[in-house]
Amino acid sequence: MEKSRRSFLKIAGVTALGVSAKPVFNAFASSDEHGGKAEPKTSKGKNSRNAEQWGMVIDTRKIQSINDLHPIISACHKIHNVPELENPRHEILWIWATKYKNAFPGKENKFLNDRIKDLPFLVLCNHCENPPCVQACPTKATFKREDGIVLMDFHRCIGCRFCMAACPYGSRSFNFRDPRPFIDEVAPGFPTRMKGVVEKCNFCAERLAVGKEPKCVEVSNGIISFGDLGDPESTVRKLLASNYSIRRKQGLGTGPSVYYIV
């Protein structure tokens, strides 16, 4: 089939017209479809708090004994439906108390002062600047939010526990059993977990979203301060500017966001 140059150019011209007309038709069609109604949209709540990097300062000078920490731990575990399991191998912890030598291995001097030696230290997920757990997670179930919180998407967790191996602070716990039967009173504000997922502290992301402080901060009687580490005017930055502080296993380069004034 021979084609003259003339007929080829004609067809090419019509095709070009057709292709360029499509987007115009689409634009018309879409504006008709919605009749001027707004598209549904999602947004952050109007009270939601934002930061460059959320951080915490724990003033250990204000801790006298473990009795100061019990209410903090139980308040957190209560609102997040953390089960109480007897078997220490199955234990689930979001925030707990430990000794200085366990919280700060490598910083333990041969002769430690008496107060620090026996003082219970409050430990939790450090919401690292460079979190190794996030790199280890094969499903991206754990990820770092824009505001610096290292969050778990429990929907996505397959329970491989790579993150637990990667976390140098032991901040993560695994649900070896269905946790529901071990929760005394289920708090309706937060879901429970199921067997086979990892969990940890979430810096109360659900409370920050409605403009509240994390629960542990609220009940700590001033032991814990919370704020934006990226803002020089924030309470945490001011505290850190005027007091000597330490962080856990800083040498690993994870950049923990929980500071301890000793």
């Binding site: 949209k41 947004s43 969050l151």
Partner: protein, 131 residues
């Protein structure tokens, strides 16, 4: 080739037994369940999307929502009519269960009939089922 009659008789018996459940239930299809709206849902008249879209696509919406809430931290949904909802399955007044407070009649009845077992409730809490 002399066993033809045995084979055919055997086949007939086999199919009769294998298809027994179908003979038994033939013509006795369970009626599709009626979904009951709670009073609050009835009075509201609107859900986040038109009824047909909710009926056919609520699972996709829930799937998208859980990512939006957890990943992007966006928890407020403004519908095309300007109504504002809390993008949560069961927490608060303007969440899904806040309005559809009768999970047993609204969700479970249809899910049971269609034999779907969403694992939402393995973790999320129906405030009513709570002891």
């Amino acid at each position: 080739m002399n066993d033809k009659k045995f084979i055919i008789a055997g086949l007939i018996i086999f199919f009769a037994v294998a298809l027994m459940p179908f003979w038994f239930n033939f013509g006795k299809a369970a009626p599709a369940p009626e979904v009951e709206l709670s009073k609050k849902a009835k009075d509201a008249k609107y859900c986040v999307l038109p009824k047909a879209e909710m009926k056919g696509g609520h699972m996709q919406i829930l799937d998208v929502w859980r990512d939006t809430v957890v990943r992007d931290g966006e928890r407020v949904y403004t519908s095309s009519s300007g109504r504002v909802y809390n993008m949560s399955l069961s927490t608060g007044e303007d969440s899904c269960l806040g309005c559809h407070s009768n999970k047993a009649e609204f969700c479970d009845r249809c899910h049971n009939y269609a034999s779907v077992e969403p694992y939402c409730w393995d973790c999320h809490i129906d405030p009513k089922e709570k002891k």
